[in-house]
């Protein structure tokens, strides 16, 4: 029950006790104070007051200690590692209330942060999809038409003009390809149209064709139903990982593995490249972006070396328990 005593009353009680003790000492000891205070008495009174002060200080310090620890814990809360909460095993009323209020606030902040990050991501995906469609449906189609017309023109012009038309043809075709790549990077059409597995196969083929890395998708048959957000996170993380493999890893082959593990779907992108070397896991916005995406669907992401050399990105997406 002592814990329920509030901080305020503790301070009053301690101060009261010290004052009463000082008064008792004064009353019961042979110390007297003359009408005109002499030097010896003054010294004694000062020493007495100092002793009372020190005792008071020592006792109050103990009382305020939980508050200091609370401050210290508060400073240590890391927004990138949600789920941290203050725990004060021995605390007085106000401090206990303060820390539970603080924990409640953390709950609300984390929830709000998750919600707003989800909203931001959904808005971003929506926008990406819109831009991808517009790029593909407008500029891409116009360029395709131009390229076809140029193909026809190339057969009609004389040899003096042909090299110029050929150059134009190549530019138009490059434009078609570029628009297609940008649109595909923005929003994987295969994911919307044919689902995650086809999209991962398409992605692997595309990165392999472009980079020369041999990429083998191994996608399990017995995957549980995933919702749209989960699929998108898995796709985006596979995409980011394969892009990293193609760009930085100096790998000759990579595996994209999607399988079921207990109550989760696990994506693994593993390469046989030179590993992460001196780079830390968090370097690069790509990694941070992957981690934040994973966080949003409650998934966990680990990036580490594999033997004998290479890197593995491992994403664990928990699936709702079977009803």
């Amino acid at each position: 029950m002592i814990r329920r005593v509030s901080l305020f009353w503790r301070v009053i009680a301690i101060n009261g006790a010290v004052l009463v003790a000082a008064a008792l000492v004064l009353a019961l000891s042979p110390i007297t104070v003359s009408d005109r205070v002499v030097v010896a008495e003054a010294v004694l009174l000062t020493v007495g007051a100092m002793v009372a002060l020190v005792v008071n200080l020592a006792l109050l310090r103990r009382v305020f200690e939980p508050l200091e620890r609370l401050t210290e814990l508060t400073r240590r809360v890391d927004p990138l590692l949600p789920g941290q909460r203050l725990e004060l095993e021995r605390s007085v009323g106000e401090v206990g209330e303060l820390s539970s209020a603080f924990n409640d606030m953390l709950d609300r902040l984390e929830r709000e942060r998750l919600d707003s990050a989800r909203r931001a991501l959904a808005a971003q995906e929506h926008e990406r999809r819109r831009i991808a469609h517009e790029l593909h449906d407008e500029i891409g189609q116009t360029l395709t038409g131009v390229a076809l017309q140029l193909d026809v023109l190339a057969d009609l012009v004389g040899p003096d003009l042909r090299p110029r038309v050929t150059a134009l043809q190549e530019s138009a075709r490059t434009g078609v390809e570029e628009v297609r790549d940008i649109a595909r990077g923005l929003r994987p059409e295969a994911l919307d149209e044919f689902g995650l597995r086809s999209a991962l196969v398409s992605l692997s083929t595309m990165v392999a064709d472009r980079s020369g890395v041999r990429i083998e998708p191994r996608l399990a048959r017995d995957l549980p139903e995933l919702d749209k957000d989960d699929e998108l996170v898995i796709y985006r993380i596979a995409q980011e990982s394969l892009t990293n493999v193609a760009r930085h890893a100096h790998a000759t082959r990579a595996d994209v593995i999607l399988e079921r593990e207990n109550a989760a779907v696990v994506l693994r992108v593993r390469d046989d490249g030179r590993g992460m070397g001196g780079r830390t896991e968090e370097s690069g916005t790509g990694m941070r972006g992957m981690r934040e995406r994973a966080l949003l669907v409650g998934a966990s992401l680990e990036i580490g070396p594999v033997a004998p050399h290479g890197t593995e990105v491992r994403l664990v997406v928990p699936t709702p328990a079977d009803p």
Binding site: Q141, L148, R184, R197, S198, V201
Partner: protein, 195 residues
């Protein structure tokens, strides 16, 4: 007897594409090649049926992405008609993922929209002559499609990928044409979770 033999070996080509620049390019490409003639270009699925009836094309080029529908749906509709023309799907992306669905929808060819006109014109000739113009089916894609499908339907996919004609597939599996068509519809649906 195919229609091209009736029409003095002139291959009659019709097109559905919702983009004006592509329609212009296609018409220019087709009329540049001797032996091919463009018999109609329309911008949407609604205008296709009258065009088929009126112009009797040998080959129909279908854009994959169309307003309110897509080339696969349209392809099935065209192929369901008696005396149907050959169908070329003309797609700008998702090419790898599109091979199996194109096969199921009964397309005779799948041509990448970014490719040179020559490729499209060659494909038109081939499918008009009864051949197929599909990219090689990657084993992993076939395997992947296999996992998404009902095991009972796998023989259908296998025979389609070998180019077995539908009546023959139906006969082998002791199905009537309507039942085979219904199963192919179901297979397409399970490969396309969105629709």
């Amino acid at each position: 007897m195919t229609r091209s033999t009736i029409q003095n070996d002139l291959i009659r080509v019709a097109m559905v594409d919702d983009h004006a620049a592509v329609r212009l390019g296609l018409e220019a490409a087709i009329s540049s090649r001797p032996g091919l003639v463009s018999v109609g270009v329309v911008d949407g699925p609604e205008a296709l049926a009258p065009l088929l009836y009126r112009a009797r094309p040998d080959v129909v080029i279908l854009d994959y992405r169309l307003p309110r529908t897509n080339g696969l749906v349209l392809c099935r509709r065209v192929k369901a008609q008696p005396l149907h023309p050959a169908v070329l799907l003309y797609s700008a992306y998702a090419d790898q993922a599109l091979v199996v669905p194109a096969l199921l929808a009964g397309a005779d060819g799948l041509v990448h929209k970014g490719g040179p006109a020559r490729e499209l014109l060659d494909a038109i000739r081939v499918v008009a002559g009864g051949g197929r113009w599909l990219p090689p089916l990657r084993p992993d894609l076939l395997r992947d499609a296999g996992t998404a499908l009902d095991p009972e339907d796998l023989p259908v996919l296998g025979m389609l990928s070998e180019g077995t004609p539908r009546p023959e597939i139906a006969a082998t599996l002791r199905l009537d044409a309507a039942e085979l068509d219904r199963r192919i519809g179901r297979m397409l649906a399970s490969l396309r979770p969105e629709r």
